[in-house]
Symmetry: C2
Subunit: 327 residues, 2 copies
Amino acid sequence: MAKKASRPLVYVADKPDTGPAHAITQARIKAAAKRHPGIFNRVDIRYGLDPKDLSRAEIVLGVAFDPLTLKADAPNLKWIQSLNAGVEKLAPKLDRSFMLTNASGLHGPKGGEFGLTCMLVLNHAVQSFVGSQRERKWNPVFTTPIEGKTVVVAGTGGLGHAVAVQAKRHKMTVIGINTTGKKVPGFDRVVKAKDMAKVLPRADFFVVALPITKGTENLIDRTAIGHLPNHCGIVNLGRARVMDYGAMAERLRAGTLLGAVCDVFDPEPLPSGSPLWDVPNLIVSPHAGVDDGSVYVDRGLDIFADNLKRYLSGRKLKNLVNLDAGY
Amino acid sequence: MAKKASRPLVYVADKPDTGPAHAITQARIKAAAKRHPGIFNRVDIRYGLDPKDLSRAEIVLGVAFDPLTLKADAPNLKWIQSLNAGVEKLAPKLDRSFMLTNASGLHGPKGGEFGLTCMLVLNHAVQSFVGSQRERKWNPVFTTPIEGKTVVVAGTGGLGHAVAVQAKRHKMTVIGINTTGKKVPGFDRVVKAKDMAKVLPRADFFVVALPITKGTENLIDRTAIGHLPNHCGIVNLGRARVMDYGAMAERLRAGTLLGAVCDVFDPEPLPSGSPLWDVPNLIVSPHAGVDDGSVYVDRGLDIFADNLKRYLSGRKLKNLVNLDAGY
């Protein structure tokens, strides 16, 4: 297609080592352009990592790219669309004049199903069976259905909501935790984070779906973990640093929790020397739980297309990140 | 309560080593009598294993008890209610004058949920993660949602139906396999066992929920397993001998199947020297998948109460086993 100088330049920032599940390929952009006619042809899209293009870019689109910290690198840059939901590494380093939008909501369909999977795994003692299997031991545990049990979900955003929807399919009671205690559809009840001690003792399952921010760092601390009952199973799909894994591991080693599935660690990949690999009844999931291998980028490009339409007509963008809050 | 000679004697045959999940305790019988008033007081219930009682018994109620092979041991015996669904060890050895009823349907609520759990485990690569975890390796696999995928269920009885119901909650296509190809509610389509080669190549998941009978022994043979596509995950909740585990293990070792969760083995417990413990992407579940630890006996006693009412009024019993067919 012919380039017009008047069209805003979109710089696709993709790390060379991005896996196939996350690559913003030309084919995927073409497919997105077909799904959203009349939008992509109004911009000039440049692939690759040519610094010259970046210096002219008005918009940056990317997944897992290195922070653009200096306004000087991209003097024309106004808007960055990340295809990540968590932008904790990007947000604090950005010039405050940039608009940053994230891909919150993108993980819902897969992430909700993965959250349910983790609860069912714990409920039906898979963590116990795979532990026994390592030792060639036959240790039956006669579990009960998950229907009617209670899940407490910390975080009522896109991912937390998707977990609630899946839990409701299986007739669970779903209690949410968020900053303000504001009611959110899909949850039977929502409590303020500062009141979580009131509901944690009721958790048959405790699912963490929080971003990492100043407000959530170590929010699920030793005291909070201490409030969970002995039969509780823990699932962390959010970020590792919101939880005290040491306190969780102590309870797992003591046998005073049902088990845990953690999809997030700090750092990642989890170093081979980490003691977490061997904690009994802890399943280490390698941060693949919420990303959908087939449609991750496609869904992300749908979010981008919608925002691009808004941008070109001067309307407010969706998923705008508060750079100070970090989400 | 006063005993009347006229009341039929019910002999509760419980092995002394039956675990707490399966014990037909006096408390559980009392609770069942309350749930079903006017039935249990019309019989004389004897607990324990006194051979004198057995010799007078008209009805035997039990779970996992040794076969009563000789009519001479129980000259008055007419009806045996087993609290197992699979009665393959009992049926062939019984005098053909006995009526045998099983507990088919009892495993539905828990078994269906466990079947879904196994499919979700395989779909979201938990078998891969736990394998990598053993080696302290971080190997992300970006999976896709189970919604819209296809499960082929061999066996459309109580357990197979329950799996179909759960799969439908997640918008899967469900194809059943049974002897006659007769349509069964809950399945999108049912094919005859002899035509299964037509549908096996379409299976994203293949769930086996078959009893062991003359007709099902090695029904899922090397040829059938060969029809499954490379991305297929296998779940066996029925009986081990309906499937060629050797052929399945070969494909798992070759990496030409997604994985498998097997809840049944031959013999059980699986001997510590079995090569199956170490097959890659095979999760060994110790025959605890379909029994509900909290309500197994209670639900079984509900089946018994209904049948007892029928027996006392001379009506046909439910769940009557064809002693020659074995189910």
